[in-house]
Amino acid sequence: MENETALQFSRWLTELTLSFHIIYATLGVGVPLMIMIAQWVGIKKNDFHYTLLARRWTRGFVITVAVGVVTGTAIGLQLSLLWPNFMELAGNVIALPLFMETFAFFFEAIFLGIYLYTWDRFENPRKHLLLLVPVAIGSSFSAVFITMVNSFMNAPRGFDIANGELVNVNPLQAMVNPAMPTKVSHVVVTAFMTVAFVLAAIAAFRLLRGSDHVYHKKSLHMTLKIGLIFSIATAVIGDFSGKYLAEYQPEKLAAAEWHFETQELAPLQMYGILDGEEVKYSIKVPFALSMLAHGSPSAEVIGLDQFDEDVTPPLYIHYLFDFMVTIGMLLVLLSLIYWIGTARKWEFVHSSFFRWLIVLGGPLSILAIELGWWLAEVGRQPWILRGILRTSEAATTNQNVDLMLLLFAGLYFILGVGTIVVLARLFRNNPVEQELKDREAEKGGDEY
C-alpha cells in the first residue's frame, strides 16, 4: 500500500505525543485536588506547613500545567492533522464531549490564573481556597470528557450506518457508551493515585537527601494516605473494567490475557512467554480469569479462537497489562505497609530502605499510566473506531509526517528537560527551611 509510510509515522507521532502529554495531563488532573486537600488541612488544623505545601505544589504545578497546555494543543490538532478521515467521521458523532472539554479547560485556566495571582489578596484564606474548586472541577471534567471520546473509540454507539452514510446520530448516546463508566473512572482515579505517589516520592526524596524537616514528613504522611485510598479504588475499578471488556471487547481481554481457547473455569495467566499458542513459564491462577471477566469461577470466557486474526490486537499487550497491574498492586502494598507501620510504630517504615521504595513508587506510577494507555490504544488495534474504521484507513495521505515526527521529538525533548531543570532550580533555590525562616522574619516585622 502506498500510504504505508505515512501511516507508520502517524502512529509513531501520535504515540509519542500521547505518551508525553499524558504525564502532564495526569499531573494536571491530580495536583489541583492535592493542593486543595493540603490547603484545606492547613486551614482546618491551623498548621502553616500544610498551607506552605499547597503553595509550593502550586508553584511547580504552574510549570507542568503550562507544558500540558502546549502538548494538549498539539494532540488536539494532531488528531485532525494525522487522522483526518477518523476526525471527519468521528466529528459527526463524538464532537460534543471534545467541544465541552474546551469549556472545562477554559474554566480551569481562568480560575487557575486568578488563584495563582491572588495568594495574599484575601483576608480570609477560605475564600482563596474556594477559587481552587473550579480549577479542580475543570481539570477533572477535562479528563472525563476526553476519556468519553476515547471510550467511544472502543465502543462506538449513538449512530447507524445506512448505505455508507451516518444516520440517526445521537450525541448523548455516543457519550454514554458502554465503555464510558469504567474508562472514565479508571482515568480519573488513577490520575489522583499517580499524583499522590509522585508527591510522596518527592517528600521521601527530600527526607533522604539532607532534610529531616517535619514539613516533609507531614507531606509524606498525607500523600501516602491519599495514595492508599485511590490505589484501592483503582483495583476495584480494574475489576469492573475486566467485566466490561469480557462483555463488549472480548478480543481485547483475550489478547491481554493470552486466552486462546474459549472455556469455562478459565485460569488467569500471569507473565510468562509465548511459544506459538502455548504459554510457557506463566503463573496460572485457577478460575481467576472467569472471576475477572464474569464474577463467577465457572463462567465461560471467550478466547481468541472466536476471532479472525485480522481483528485481534498484537499479543504483546499481555506484558503491558501485567506490568500495569503489578505496579498497581505494589503501590497498594507499599502504602498499606506504610499506613499500618505508622499506626503500629514500626521503625521499618521510616528507614532509608523503605523511603527509597517510596521514591521508586513515583516513577513507577507514571510508568503504569503509560502502560495503561499503550494497552488501551494497542489493544484496540486494528481499529481506530472499533468495528467501524481501521487505523490504516484513517491516516493522512500527507507525505511529510516523518519530518514532523523528528520536529516534535525535538520539541518534547526540550520541554521535558526544561521542565525538570526549571522545577529542580525552583525548589533548590528556595528550600522549605528558607521559606519558613523568611515567613517568621516577616511575621516578626509585622508585630513590631
Partner: protein
C-alpha cells in the same frame, strides 16, 4: 430546510466570533513579546517586562483556549474540514504548534521559573512575529488555488503558495496588525498603570505601525482581484463595512496623535477590526475552502449541531462571568495594574 440553514450560520458566527476573540487577545500577546525582546536589545529594558508579568502571564492560557476552542468547534460543526484542512495543513499547523510551545514554555520556564535569559526572550519575541504569519496561511489557503485533489486526496502546492503575492500580503498584514493592536492596547494599559514612560514608547510604536497597516490591508484587496475574483467582487458589495472600519481607524490614530482618551481609542480599534473581520467573513460566504468546500456540504448532522449549540450556550453562561472576574482582577483592578498589589 430553513432550520438547517439557520444552524449553519449560527455555528459559523459562533466560531468566527471566537476566532476574532483569539486574534485580538493573541495579537496583544504576540506584539508584547516582540516589543519586549526588542527592548531588551535596544536598552529600553524592563519597561515592558512589568506589563508582561502583570497582564500577560495570568491570561496566556486563556488566550490559548480561544484557539483550541476554534479548531475543535470547526471540526465539530464542519467535520469535513478535518479532512481537507487536516490533510493539507500538517506542516504549517505543526510549525504553529512548535511556535506556540516556545511561547508557552517561555511563560512556564522564564516568568514563573527564574531569571531572564536573553536568547529565550529573543525566541519568544520572534515566535510572536512568526505565529501570525504561520496561522494566517490558513486564510490564504482558504482563498483557493493552492489545494488540488490528487487521487481524491487534497494536496497543498507549496510552490504556488510561497510564490503567490497574496500569501505574502496576508502574512505582512497579520504581522503588522498584531504589532499595531498590541501597541494600542499597551499604550492604554501602561497609561492606566501610570507608567507614562512606557505609554509614550507604546504610543510611538502604535503610530509607526498605523500606516503600514492600512497599506498592507489595501494590498490584500488589490492582490485578491487577480487571485479570486468572486471573493473580490463580494468584498466590494460590502464596501460600506470596510469604509466604516477605515473611519474608526482614522479616529483611533487621531486620538493617539493628540494623546487623548486611550480607552476610547482601544474601543474604536476593536470596532475597526471587528467590522473588517466580519465583512471579510461575510464576503467569504459560503465557501470554507474555495472551490471545494462550502458551509453547507461540510456541515454536521442536525442532532450534533443542536447539541453543540446547547453546549455552547451552557458553557458560555459559565464562561462569561468567569472571564469578567478575570478581567476585573487583572485588567480593571487599579491597584493591581499600578503594581501596588503583588502576587
Amino acid at each position: 430546510m430553513t432550520l438547517t440553514l439557520d444552524l449553519e450560520i449560527i455555528g459559523m458566527v459562533v466560531l468566527w466570533t471566537f476566532l476574532f476573540g483569539y486574534i485580538m487577545v493573541a495579537s496583544i500577546d504576540f506584539g508584547a513579546g516582540f516589543f519586549h525582546a526588542f527592548s531588551l536589545f535596544s536598552g529600553t529594558n524592563h519597561i515592558l517586562a512589568n506589563v508582561i508579568q502583570r497582564y500577560l502571564s495570568p491570561v496566556w492560557e486563556v488566550t490559548n483556549v480561544f484557539l483550541v476552542f476554534f479548531f475543535v468547534g470547526v471540526v465539530g460543526f464542519f467535520p469535513k474540514t478535518a479532512y481537507y484542512y487536516g490533510t493539507t495543513l500538517l506542516v504549517p499547523a505543526s510549525f504553529a504548534i512548535i511556535l506556540l510551545a516556545i511561547r508557552g514554555s517561555y511563560y512556564a520556564f522564564q516568568t514563573y521559573g527564574a531569571k531572564e535569559h536573553k536568547g529565550y526572550a529573543f525566541m519568544y519575541g520572534l515566535s510572536g512575529l512568526l505565529l501570525p504569519a504561520s496561522l494566517s496561511i490558513v486564510l490564504t489557503i482558504s482563498e483557493g488555488g493552492f489545494v488540488s485533489l490528487v487521487d481524491g486526496s487534497p494536496v497543498l502546492d507549496y510552490w504556488a503558495l510561497f510564490t503567490s503575492p497574496l500569501t505574502w500580503s496576508i502574512v505582512l498584514l497579520s504581522i503588522v496588525a498584531s504589532l499595531y493592536i498590541s501597541a494600542v492596547f499597551l499604550t492604554w494599559y501602561a497609561n492606566k498603570a501610570k507608567d507614562y514612560k512606557a505609554a509614550a514608547i507604546m504610543r510611538k510604536y502604535a503610530l509607526i505601525w498605523a500606516l503600514p497597516l492600512i497599506i498592507t490591508a489595501g494590498g490584500i484587496i488589490y492582490e485578491l482581484q487577480f487571485h479570486n475574483d468572486v471573493h473580490y467582487q463580494r468584498i466590494f458589495d460590502l464596501w460600506w463595512m470596510f469604509a466604516l472600519s477605515f473611519l474608526l481607524f482614522v479616529v483611533t490614530v487621531c486620538l493617539l496623535w493628540i494623546r487623548k482618551n486611550y480607552g476610547l481609542a482601544l474601543i474604536l480599534l476593536l470596532g475597526q477590526f471587528s467590522l473588517a473581520f466580519y465583512a471579510y467573513g461575510i464576503s467569504h460566504y459560503p465557501y470554507l475552502l474555495y472551490p471545494h468546500l462550502t458551509l453547507y456540504d461540510s456541515f454536521t448532522n442536525q442532532a450534533m449541531a443542536i447539541s453543540l449549540i446547547v453546549a455552547f450556550l451552557a458553557g458560555f453562561s459559565l464562561l462569561l462571568p468567569s472571564l469578567y472576574l478575570l478581567l476585573r482582577l487583572f485588567l480593571f483592578n487599579k491597584d493591581y495594574v499600578e503594581g501596588n498589589r503583588s502576587s
